[in-house]
Amino acid sequence: MSDTNLISETAIPEPVAITDELIAEHGLSDDEYKHLLEIIGREPSSTELGIFSVMWSEHCSYKSSRYHLKKLPVDGPQVIQGPGENAGVVDLGDGQAAVFKMESHNHPSYIEPFQGAATGVGGIMRDVFTMGARPVANLNALRFGEPDHAKTSHLVNGVVAGIAAYGNCMGVPTVGGETNFDKRYNQNILVNAMCIGLADTDKIFYSAAKGVGLPVVYVGSKTGRDGIHGATMASAEFDEQTDEKRPTVQVGDPFTEKLLLEACLELMSSDAIIAIQDMGAAGLTSSSVEMADKGGVGFTMNLDKVPQRERGMTAYEMMLSESQERMLMVLKPGSEPAAKAIFDKWDLDFAVIGETTNTGRLIVHHKGVIEANLPVATLADSAPEYQRPFVKTPEAPQVAPSDIPASEDVLGTLKTLMSGPHLCSRRWIYEQYDHMVMGDTVQRPGGDAAVVRVHGTNKGLASATDVTPRYCYADPYEGGKQAVVETWRNITAVGAKPLAITNCLNFGNPTREEIMGQFVGCLEGMGDACRALDYPIVSGNVSLYNETNGIGIPPTPAIGGIGLIDDIATQATVALQDEGDVLIVVGETNGHVGQSLYQELQTGEFNGAPPAVDLEVERKHGDAIRTLITEGRLKAVHDTSDGGLLVTVAEMCLAGKIGAQLSDISGNIPAGSFWFGEDQGRYVISIAASDSEALLADLAAKGIAAYQIGIATGKEISIAGDGSLPLEQLSEEFEAYLPNLLA
């Protein structure tokens, strides 16, 4: 670089006095430290030790998970970019692409729920617009502890307000997601944020800094001391001292991020950018190493040039800071003045802090001293990879309907389930999110999948997040399959063709063999489901060590799926439409009670094997439903999941404000197990009475089980021989639970 005050690049930084304590504080094992010494052939400086510690943290290196992640299917004709970039990219046709990813912010959100959740949302949006996409939809998958736990209300209030504050200010609609309550998350909540953006396929930006002598440019907010060691924190368990970690949580500034979004997109409309990467976990360290490594170059940086919020920051602090709303770019030489003018207009810092070199080394100068001098490729690729030992989760026994006490009042059970934490209305949450800004939300929260119109077209982008952690805990393989399949079903149920998924793999401590067994099992199930449905994984994130004092969360591989509707005029919703329409269940109902909400209600616990997923049946049923929607034959569609058949029907009634008169077709299955069992592969559809016989015949011809279960009518839900439940009463209790709990 042109600065004359830079000293020779062969200089070796001053080593730090290494103690066992210092190594442990940096989250490195003794073996990892020995490996570090072998790589650099000398003792590291404190900055270098810091750089290694974050690059080798579980959060950045995926050292426990990489071996297994490699086995997941990531390809397909629709995939433009799979895992490995800031986000995945999928072709939408007509020269447009969806750019999307989901990421966890679990540890910070437990410590400081508002800021933890807010910066999680900010981070995932940066991942998306870094690639040249304008974010068009946000979703989130949230898990909290049991409703009456002392901290739950505080955590839910903080997390929801934090997501709202960030997304609403950015002007990106938060259109969907899911929320669970379970005591196993009492000490470790999960906050997974997903963002989807739209880009032109010929204007997608990547992080590979190809070329030597190019300016390395820092833009966005100034660097402060916040978030130092955030990545390391996210790679360890919690204990009694967790509250002391509050200072490692970053503070979000959505206003600055909105400016950064507009400035980046404005600059991206020119051809100035060669590579760009957001500064997320491990900040300047991770962004510079990844950009240099992918471009096959070295980076020389002068930290004196980094815009700083605080005085007296050391190189160590600047390299490890996780201050938010920052980006690192490599520009075409000569484009700096025009680029700077854009960032000046948006009142954002713009600083040339270094250049790309042919040395293959990351060289960090600060105050006339070389603080780090490390080989880029080795730093990026040498992270340990562990094939951690695991034990397979023992097979859970099947539970027969006769094993649990039968409900004697099916409609009373329905009311109890729907006015409780698992199935009650999520309105209290989604009304705090602006879900309509951008003027393209054509299916708002509350249905199977959210749908946003592809701006300026009649196409719709459908999205949903799902996982059923209790299924994964009982049988990781079936649970992993089910998580993928449920997003696929939800996307199918609005009439969209499912395209691809992203995921957040939230698990406990991977050094425990049973946790690693859950991880391996879930990934096998996910992989099989993705392959069977041509539904690849294009991005994602792994969050391990979700444990406190040795007690882990249930395995929670949250899946975020997207799909495409060719014409939103043909989309389906869950709302019943007209009196007299016929209700049909597609798929076999066998009364599977193991791990069902009904089982918990009747026995006080979840037990046994979860419902099995038959991937061939799923595909056959889903493809048939989608075709019927596209043909315009169906008037309402809802996939059957938590709570089973009767809950599905009730949700359709509430959405359409029309009741249902149901027949008793439970046969030899006890009524409660029939109506609340959680067998997979099912949808409830409504259709004009004049077409119902033809439809049943068409489905039968395809070998698909389908049964008429009743008609849409009146203002109550009734089952032949079992009384009735007024919709108004159900609606009141359905809506009341969360406001009462959280107010």
Partner: protein, 229 residues
């Protein structure tokens, strides 16, 4: 009809407003950056929703000090119609083009949902396409929409017929339950004395087609087209 949309840093309904104006008036509006000193000659100035300057100070307070606001105020006083939606309403109040203040919602939370509004009168340039007393559905999306004015000011607004829209229930009653944010007299929008400046918290630009859930927002823009074409 030529319109200008003022864009502040972190305005975020500027595009939505532009889409609605182009759809309904047939002409794309001019987008005017807040740092400019003059608004181009036009028939309507629109201040859009969003979080100008992050709303880190009182909502709209920073934007009210933007360079462009001098000319917006001058043009408003010379009779150019001004429409402020949501954050735009907050800016109009902070610039004293409209009286009162918009405080934090009664329940402290941001709220995004469809609400019912009563169109108080239909003899203004903003409402001629509605019936007087008509109940329309328009979404709100705000944290600070709780309208407050001194007793005298409130009486003056009511006496002069300057309440534009009120939050009501399905049968048109301005009940506490129908009031989403605690606004005095269920006020959702007000006019200036000249009746040429309108500020409202709900977002008419969000309900302009059936795909989006309704068309009740169109009437406001269609009224402007009729008055200002």
């Amino acid at each position: 009809m030529r319109s200008s949309v003022i864009v502040f840093p972190a305005s975020n309904c500027d595009r939505d407003a532009s889409v609605a104006l182009e759809d309904i008036t047939g002409t794309k509006p001019t987008m005017v950056w807040h740092a400019e000193s003059t608004v181009p000659d036009c028939d309507l100035i629109l201040l859009p929703g969003g979080f100008s300057f992050g709303d880190y100070l009182r909502s709209g307070a920073m934007a009210a000090q933007s360079p462009i606001m001098k000319d917006v105020i001058a043009k408003a006083k010379s009779g150019v119609p001004v429409l402020g939606i949501c954050n735009g309403f907050q800016v109009l109040v902070e610039s004293e083009l409209l009286p009162g203040a918009l405080m934090r919602n009664r329940d402290i939370k941001f709220l995004c949902k469809d609400v019912q509004l009563k169109v108080e009168r239909n003899d203004t340039i903003f409402t001629s396409k509605y019936d007087a007393g008509e109940i329309i559905t328009i979404p709100i999306a705000h944290h600070d929409g709780n309208y407050f004015a001194s007793e005298d000011k409130l009486k003056q607004l009511e006496d002069e017929g300057r309440v534009a829209f009120r939050y009501v229930n399905e049968i048109g009653e301005a009940t506490p339950e129908a009031n989403p944010n605690g606004s005095q007299n269920n006020i959702a929008g007000i006019y200036s004395k000249s009746m040429k400046v309108l500020g409202l918290m709900p977002h008419p630009e969000r309900l302009i087609s059936n795909e989006l859930g309704g068309t009740d927002g169109r009437g406001l823009f269609e009224s402007l087209v009729e008055a200002l074409h």
